[in-house]
Symmetry: C2
Amino acid sequence: MDGFAVIAEDTYGATPTAPVFLRTLGSVQIGTAPTVRVGRGEAASTVTGGRMPQGANAVVMVEYTNEREDGTVEVSDEVHPAENIARAGEDVRKGSIVLRKGTRILPQDLGMLTCLGLNQVAVMRKPRVAVLSTGSELQNEPSVSSNRIPDVNRPTLISALHQLGCEPVDLGIVPDEFEQIRSKLEQGIKTADIVLVTAGTSVGPGDMVPKVINSLGKPGMLVHGVAMRPSMPTGLAVVDGKLVVSLPGYPVSAYIAFLEFVEPLVAYALETNPLPCPVVKARLSRRVTGVLGSRTYVRVLVTCGDEGHIAEPVRTSGAGILSSLVQANGFVIVPEHIEGYEEGQEVDVELFRPPEREQIVK
Amino acid sequence: MDGFAVIAEDTYGATPTAPVFLRTLGSVQIGTAPTVRVGRGEAASTVTGGRMPQGANAVVMVEYTNEREDGTVEVSDEVHPAENIARAGEDVRKGSIVLRKGTRILPQDLGMLTCLGLNQVAVMRKPRVAVLSTGSELQNEPSVSSNRIPDVNRPTLISALHQLGCEPVDLGIVPDEFEQIRSKLEQGIKTADIVLVTAGTSVGPGDMVPKVINSLGKPGMLVHGVAMRPSMPTGLAVVDGKLVVSLPGYPVSAYIAFLEFVEPLVAYALETNPLPCPVVKARLSRRVTGVLGSRTYVRVLVTCGDEGHIAEPVRTSGAGILSSLVQANGFVIVPEHIEGYEEGQEVDVELFRPPEREQIVK
């Protein structure tokens, strides 16, 4: 603290009406070793960040002192030993654990590491996550003249993986052919920790991904089909100790299944927990319906008005309508056991973007 | 959809007990232009992702069909025109706005841009934010033998700025000398959009930052001192149209003031809104006190037990105790008008890390 380094006992009983007078020894220079030694009846001027001079055991704050021209300082408040002093080890004690394994390093943690001179720390290897798109109709770029459609899932998932701190491995696109899918999945299982494969997981003639996965090793498909809308055809598999997640082909389904299943798997691989999603209470601008027995993810746009938050369900909401995720800023999740929520009802919205506000006028 | 492309009117009245029979024309190959043309009484086998053959106006899902060996398909459900078909423009209509200025690009937005062939989009320049540490006691590295202490604020703030999508400009450390601080701040104001300067903002003899800022241009200091604990000596200034934020020197104060004031300023500079912080309800394991008239930020560790979340206030909590931010995972904010919260009371905790859980046994 800015003030005077003293022997606490010298200040006992000091008040504004009955101050104590101490002989000043000059000042402690910041950033250098103190050259003075404080004895009984003495005080050395000091500043925040300065080292304590020998002999002194407390600091009287400058607010309670009045330096006089006769070489003394008037002290109008008492201090106790160790008062207004930072002691060695008060922040981090020798031998204590500062950051545990599984901690995502935040700015303050980096500050702490710097403070301790730990310029290198062991961190987890980024999980390698392979991404394969299947579908004879897919190509990388959109083109009006072609009969194919652009692959939306790979760029979306690769971007999401980067955000989660993973190292994505791009396995490209394969047509709906057993051997081609098999060879790419095999490559993914060899090189990555987790393999994501989109489409081919439904019941149509081209939907052979589960069969391919089962042909690759044991135990194969563990789950095929989950009680959620969208994303119902999601599958989870283990092949030779590697996780394989079979995501639906529709972009909205694939991405919601990613959020629901792949995010926690990545957190698990990193031995950490994911930060919970921000949630706001909002009133529904109209009724939303779920599917009994399934958990339904309704995409909504939350706006922040004078009377609180309003959640407007995004009109066009098929699993193939990517704009439903682009226009929305949150999910209203209708649980399995209820049919929906009424217009005007207050619901929790899990936000992935900030609520819309009135534009700030610049 | 996987199924048969038909003329919807041909299926009217079809039920499992009174199916309709249509002549099969062969199948639509995925990824190629359809070669068949569907007429009245006809159907072409098709798959999800295939182009619609000419003449057809709907698809009967494969579940409601039974292909027979006599060249016909049995249809057991009726479809309406446009049913099970994705129409051009149903996701994004020509001329519509897909992403507004001020949107932080999320994975699904990237998917959408790819889908539209927009491989390059105009984005906001990253705000340049300069960071200067003041204090004659500071040095970059810790050292037991020296009389100086390591500068924690610069690495912490620079890391936080990176996370916010800014371009940090490191102005280094200057001692508590008017001209040196002035020259560095001048450099910051010239090169950056926002300037952060830590310490020197209190009332001690070395605290000259506000004076320096006022000497640099108009209007100078707008706010000096805010009703919050920690971070009270925070100052906000404008010099020649540039924002200067004078942050306290104590690391905890500096970082909390950064979260409270600099984060929203950066969002404003980017013309976006910050995503709200995740909040959980938790019971306090012991009483916390605030300072009447000030908003108090209590650092807590939230654990997730069988009976809900428990918030344990971090014991050592001075503004200089960086470990209070490293050990904590959230803030309980005691508002200005109340003295504190009681033990056992349920409070909102703003989380910056996930709640602690029982370790998952691997």
